[in-house]
């Protein structure tokens, strides 16, 4: 039997390495093969162990140490049923069955550390086809037919950028992969690099051939050490196999590839800022035009796409652009990967054809809200995106339809929120992020985001005034108009969407001093219900500021003047007597 342990970063964090070690020590290795695979995508069930018995796959989930021992014994005795208590439930199986995987097609299936595994799964066949039978123009045409749009957020047609770089004059051209996945709440690109690095390399080489680049660079964020390690290993293996370097696969096409580790700056997701960073400078965006296709890295024609975009390329070449375009809507073709997280039952990676609805993803695939609470909103597009409320759950996943809500498709982060999330605090959280990450070049972004953050902080602390909402709206417009790059132009989106759909929450904070989600501590009031209190004295003992008084077996009272709203009393009370208002 073949046994694969899902070892993406999140699997490892959940304990997959320990699971692997136990299997390694206990399995009869003469009879069985143990290997590593990438992120299977069902992060909520990690660690996951897949056992292939002949053609049949048995998937075991939440494999802790005891489970790993039992599975190893079951494999050794050739009777898997002995470990079926850890088998995935039919309900959980639906999470993957309802997806259509193209960019993620090898993730969690093959061993990312072995080029043979990739080759055995039709790997590098697309590159071979391109080099032996297609002109660069034909490649660009095929991408055009597919309708593939940049998956990094802006959704610009990939073929158009490729063609512009192809048409640009100059001997030396660069192809750059943007793997600086800085959007908090998104991890699709990490999963692709960790789980299927050769797919990224193949997509990049096809892109390099199409635009005529002789050098390719992957800009990976430094927070992804495992992704960097696996990609480095994959590049070395590809080089040994004659896939990177001079005369690739015996053709006249030559291309070098290297990794550049980012140093932590969200603005470097903007392509001209990324180029500045590649050149060793502060990542501050350049004025466009000239576009990178004309003058990019070292002022040479350059093309930049993100990881997921490249991950679709080899599939498109092998299956034809038309097959890709057959999926999706009129404006948005193919599939999109989402990182589904937050207050969701089944969190993980979801790849679905465009045209499905948000409801399909969150409820049908994601299983709905944790603890069956009420769905409040989903945040898409991170700091550049917005919050989409419950009444728009039937919005179709399509670049235009999502933009119409005020949010954006973005790179694919989908953070689900329930009634415990305060929308004003959410807006403050994102502005705190953009204010810190603003590179400081444009006054509107540098100061505008700071002023917006101050106003939002004021409101969440109960010091807001009624004029604050108008002032916020005015600042939003100014920052949008006055900023040079995407970071500043989109920074107001989290504020604008929450003001659009959750204005009443802003007003409650300001006029009534109330936070309905009970998240803004400054607005909370802790009280003890005398009918429920048994006088056990537990709360008084745990209060760090001695704000609770009372005698044994008599109802206690909280002095709101002294209370620091730490919530200790509520968490220790066994009778539910402490109420938050």
């Amino acid at each position: 039997m073949k046994i694969a342990v899902g070892q993406g970063s999140c699997g490892i964090a959940a304990g997959a390495q320990k699971t692997y070690e136990i299997l390694e020590n206990r399995l009869d290795k003469a009879q069985n093969e143990l290997c590593v695979t990438g992120c299977i995508g069902m992060c909520y069930l990690e660690p996951i162990v897949d056992v292939y018995d002949g053609g049949q796959l048995y998937r075991f989930v939440r494999v802790n140490e005891t489970a790993a021992e039992k599975i190893a014994d079951a494999v050794n005795s050739k009777d898997l049923s002995a470990a079926f208590e850890f088998k995935i439930s039919e309900d959980d199986e639906q999470f993957l069955k309802k997806q259509t995987r193209i960019a993620l097609r090898h993730c969690g299936v093959i061993n990312p550390e072995k080029i043979e595994d990739y080759k055995n799964s039709d790997g590098y066949k697309a590159l071979s086809k391109v080099l032996s039978s297609m002109t660069p123009e034909q490649v660009i045409e095929e991408i055009k037919i597919s309708g593939l749009a940049g998956r990094g957020g802006a959704g610009f047609p990939a073929w158009f950028k490729w063609n512009a770089a192809r048409q640009s004059e100059g001997e030396k051209k660069y192809l750059i992969c943007n793997a600086d996945e800085g959007d908090p709440g998104a991890f699709m690109d990490r999963a692709v690099i960790e789980g299927d690095p050769h797919n990224l390399i193949e997509g990049m080489l096809i892109g390099a051939y199409a635009i005529g680049a002789s050098e390719a660079v992957v800009y990976v964020r430094a927070e992804y050490p495992l992704a960097i390690r696996r990609l480095k290993n994959a590049i070395e293996e590809a080089r040994k196999n004659g896939i990177i370097g001079k005369n690739i696969m015996g053709s006249s096409f030559s291309c070098e590839m290297r990794i550049k580790a980012g140093a932590g700056a969200f603005v470097c997701g903007e392509e001209t800022a990324l180029i500045e960073s590649l050149e060793g400078s502060r990542g501050m965006p350049r004025l466009k035009p000239p576009f990178p296709a004309q003058s990019g890295y070292w002022h040479k024609p350059s093309n930049i796409n993100n990881v997921e975009t490249f991950a679709n390329v080899s599939w498109i070449i092998l299956n034809g652009g038309a097959a890709f375009a057959a999926m999706g809507t009129e404006n948005s073709k193919g599939t999109k990967v989402f990182a589904l997280t937050g207050k969701i039952k089944r969190g993980g990676l979801v790849e679905i054809p465009m045209g499905k609805t948000l409801r399909d993803v969150i409820f049908d695939i994601g299983g709905g809200i944790k603890n069956d609470k009420e769905f409040k909103a989903v945040q898409m597009g991170g700091p550049s995106g917005g919050c989409i409320p419950a009444e728009l759950l039937d919005t179709v996943i399509d670049y235009k339809a999502l933009s119409a809500t005020g949010a954006i498709m973005g790179s694919g982060g989908m953070v689900v929120m329930d009634s415990d999330t305060c929308m004003v605090e959410m807006a403050r959280f994102f502005l705190d992020f953009t204010a810190k990450e603003s590179c400081g070049k444009c006054v509107h972004c540098r100061l505008g985001t700071k002023r917006m953050l101050e106003i939002l902080t004021r409101i969440t602390e109960g010091r807001g005034s009624e004029e604050d909402i108008d002032l916020l709206e005015e600042l939003c417009r100014t920052v949008k108009d006055g900023a040079l790059c995407g970071l500043g132009q989109t920074a107001p989106n989290p504020v604008l969407t929450t003001l659009k759909y959750f204005r009443n929450e802003y007003e409650e904070h300001i006029k009534e001093g109330k936070c309905r989600a009970h998240e803004c501590t400054a607005l909370l009031k802790y009280e003890i219900n005398p009918q429920m209190c048994k006088g056990c004295t537990m709360c008084a003992k745990k209060c760090p500021v001695n704000a609770i008084s009372g005698t044994v077996k008599n109802p206690h009272v909280i002095d709101s003047g002294l209370c620091i709203k730490c919530g200790n009393c509520k968490s220790v009370c066994r009778f539910g007597a402490v109420e938050v208002k």
Binding site: S9, F187, W298
Partner: protein, 165 residues
């Protein structure tokens, strides 16, 4: 601010990296990353040395070193706690975890404990959103944190450090 001009920094440790990259244009970030890997942070004399060897002005190096969140101008503790404050972690209670660490170790974001054991740093997103809230300590990721679990992890590390001494 503490003065960190340690006079006895061994600059030769950086030599292999400088030999490879000093004359390659655009390598400043790579060199700084290597230097930080070696020294744990970027001491002033290392920055001056890099400037001399590469010909890049000190002001530019400082500009780059202060722009990117990865670079540190002061030493960090034995354990660097990177506490994720990404969206998913935020929604799932990372602020509560931060408060707990603040109280337990008596340090705030960016500070180091008096015994030099722990440094706390808030980071944007570690990409392990399904296990939120998450923290990474010296390349090891800990997920699904609760205030109790976070304290237990720190206690364990304190104990480990005590045994190593």
């Amino acid at each position: 601010m503490n003065c960190n001009c340690e006079k006895n920094t061994d600059l030769s440790l950086l030599e292999p990296c400088l030999e490879k990259y000093a004359q390659v244009p655009g390598s400043l970030i790579t060199i700084l990353q290597n230097a930080q890997e070696i020294y744990g942070y970027l001491p002033v004399d290392v920055i001056l040395h890099i400037s001399r060897r590469t010909g890049v002005k000190v002001t530019k190096i400082m500009g780059v070193a202060t722009f990117y969140s990865q670079f540190r101008l002061n030493p960090v503790g034995k354990y660097l706690i990177m506490l994720c404050q990404g969206t998913a972690c935020h929604v799932n209670g990372s602020q509560q975890i931060e408060k707990t660490i603040n109280e337990y170790l008596k340090i705030k974001d960016g500070e180091t404990t008096e015994d030099g054991l722990f440094t706390l740093k808030n980071v944007a997103c570690l990409g392990c959103c399904s296990l939120s809230p998450v923290m990474m300590i010296n390349d090891e990721t800990y997920g699904s944190l609760t205030p109790e679990k976070a304290v237990a992890i720190l206690k364990e590390l304190k104990k480990k450090a005590g045994e190593e001494d």
